[in-house]
């Protein structure tokens, strides 16, 4: 029995290490390909440069960074209130039987391939924006709305879990003081579940910033500084997705360098999510 346990332990350790080392290899590869170019162009010029014209050797990705943050911000603006409302509704007001149907349905939202979201956005949303709000329709606004829906499952399920994980005496304590159900939720339960909710938002942001396919289809991919929600834009991910197919030399390296920046942003987001959920448990 002991020996068998040992073997199983070893195998699991090996698997764990190999997945970590794959992550490490990916990072190493991206950084190895991308960093030389960042040095060559200069980190400042690369990150803060506004011109991206690979054929002339100008590699400034600020418009993409700004584009990524704009769509992510827009997605959060839509996805967080909606997701939080759904989470509260599911954990506090939905009869168990209905919740049992709704929860897997929401999970299903996460299983829809992003190209389908993109397709739907292109056919329905883009014309609506073009006809009613103006601009090309292929815009940050359209992208944000689609992304907002795409991050809903993340925000709903993690927020709901953290609301349901609260000890029941927060709620009964609040109600016993004469609070209405809503006052108990808003003034006690949501603040108490705050770190979980914030973690869900950060993970949602990570998902939004990393989304590629749907954004290629909806954003219009213009390489210029966006100035309004109705402008076309390009994100870090779509920059890589669109140009990788034909890039070579410095251009190809610049795309890896774009990946480096993206990698760093996502690492920062994820580690803050982990730090927050740690704090929640302690």
């Amino acid at each position: 029995m002991e020996a068998k346990d040992k073997i199983i332990e070893r195998i699991l350790l090996l698997i764990a290490f190999s997945s970590i080392s794959i992550l490490g290899l990916i990072a190493l590869f991206i950084f190895g390909e991308g960093l030389p170019l960042i040095w060559k162009v200069g980190p400042r010029a690369f990150i803060l440069g506004e011109r991206w014209v690979p054929s002339q050797g100008s590699f400034g990705i600020l418009p993409m960074i700004v584009g990524s943050f704009w769509v992510t911000f827009g997605a959060i603006l839509l996805g967080v209130p909606l997701g939080l409302a759904c989470a509260i509704f599911l954990s506090e007001w939905t009869p168990p039987l209905i919740a049992m149907v709704l929860r897997p349905t929401i999970q299903l939202l996460a299983a829809i391939p992003s190209v389908i979201y993109g397709f739907w956005g292109l056919i329905i949303l883009v014309p609506l924006v073009r006809n009613y709000l103006g601009g090309p329709g292929l815009s940050i606004l359209s992208g944000s709305v689609i992304l907002g829906f795409m991050i809903l499952p993340t925000i709903i399920s993690i927020s709901e879990d953290s609301l349901r994980a609260l000890p029941p005496y927060y709620k009964s304590g609040a109600l016993a003081l004469g609070a209405t159900h809503w006052q108990a939720i808003w003034r006690v339960m949501v603040p108490a579940a705050r770190s979980g909710i914030v973690a869900s938002i950060i993970l949602g942001m990570g998902r939004a910033i990393g989304e590629t396919m749907a954004m290629i289809m909806i954003l219009g991919n213009a390489v210029k500084m966006p100035t309004s929600f109705l402008d076309s834009a390009r994100t870090l991910t779509t920059n890589i997705g669109i140009e990788m197919g034909y890039a070579s030399g410095d251009h190809r390296q610049a795309l890896f360098a774009t990946g480096v920046i993206l990698f760093l942003i996502i690492m920062i987001l994820n580690s803050s999510a982990i730090a927050l959920s740690r704090r929640r448990r302690s």
Binding site: K171, L175, G178, A179, T180
Partner: protein, 259 residues
């Protein structure tokens, strides 16, 4: 209910029955609650003490399928607390509760005490400050926390947390304060402090306390009701119950023959 009752009544329980779905947990309970007195409820585990106490602020309404029968009249206006026509929130505005385990909210000391006032729509800072201070003083906690009322409540000791919960319940000037085994999670020193506090408080508020600890009931209460299997077996002045109980069952319980 042998004695003639010569106190002012704050509430009167009349033929109260309570059901968890099909399970009857209280059976035709009658009990007077004297104003500005402490009424203790004792009885073996599972006899229905908590169930009974929770009728007073309608906490059973949180779960569907629970049902009250009979009435609890709240004086002076004879509001029937358990009537389905009465809004439970209106009841909880007048009758506050302190739970078995200290349950401060994950907020500051100040915000914990202010919570009941805030949900009543109170926004005036000066008034909130005053009421928070007054409640903390009433709960004998002010001197210990005056320098850290903006710290998280979790940083207080268990006994302080329970007094904080008492302050929180007092801040809204309730007419009745319910205690469900308020000291069972505390050490003897903290317990003693809470007991003293409860005796202090009766000049301001009518108190009903559930306790497992018979010495505690004997020490703090003016009246004691002995419950058994969902019924009130005996109710009388505390000294009478503990010295000359008139029922055999009561005597067996307080002498520790079961429970």
């Amino acid at each position: 209910m042998s004695t003639v009752f010569s106190e002012n009544l704050k509430a009167e329980v009349k033929n109260l029955s309570f059901f968890y779905n099909q399970v009857q947990a209280l059976k035709h309970v009658n009990l007077p609650i004297a104003e500005n007195r402490i009424t203790a409820l004792i009885g073996p585990s599972g006899c229905g003490k908590t169930t009974y106490l929770r009728c007073f602020n309608r906490m059973h309404d949180l779960y569907p399928g629970n049902r009250y029968e009979g009435e609890i009249l709240l004086y002076p206006d004879q509001l029937n607390i358990v009537s389905s026509e009465v809004d439970p929130i209106e009841v909880r505005m007048r009758i506050s509760m302190v739970f078995q385990k200290p349950n401060p909210f994950p907020k500051t000391v100040y915000e914990n005490v202010a919570y009941g006032l805030r949900v009543r729509g109170e926004r005036r800072k000066r008034l909130l400050d005053e009421k928070v201070e007054k409640a903390l003083k009433q709960a004998a906690l002010w001197d210990e926390v005056r320098d850290r009322i903006h710290d998280l409540a979790f940083n207080l000791s268990g006994g302080q947390q329970q007094r904080l919960c008492i302050a929180r319940a007092l801040a809204t000037d309730p007419e009745i304060l319910l205690f469900d085994e308020p000291t069972s999670a505390l050490d003897p020193t903290a317990t003693l402090k809470i007991e003293e506090l409860i005796m202090q408080l009766k000049k301001d508020v009518t108190i009903i306390i559930v306790t497992h600890n018979m010495q505690q009931a004997a020490r703090v209460s003016d009246y004691t009701a002995f419950m058994y299997l969902g019924e009130i077996i005996e109710f009388d002045k505390t000294e009478k119950i503990f010295t000359h109980p008139s029922k055999k069952l009561t005597e067996d319980y307080i002498t520790g023959r079961f429970g």
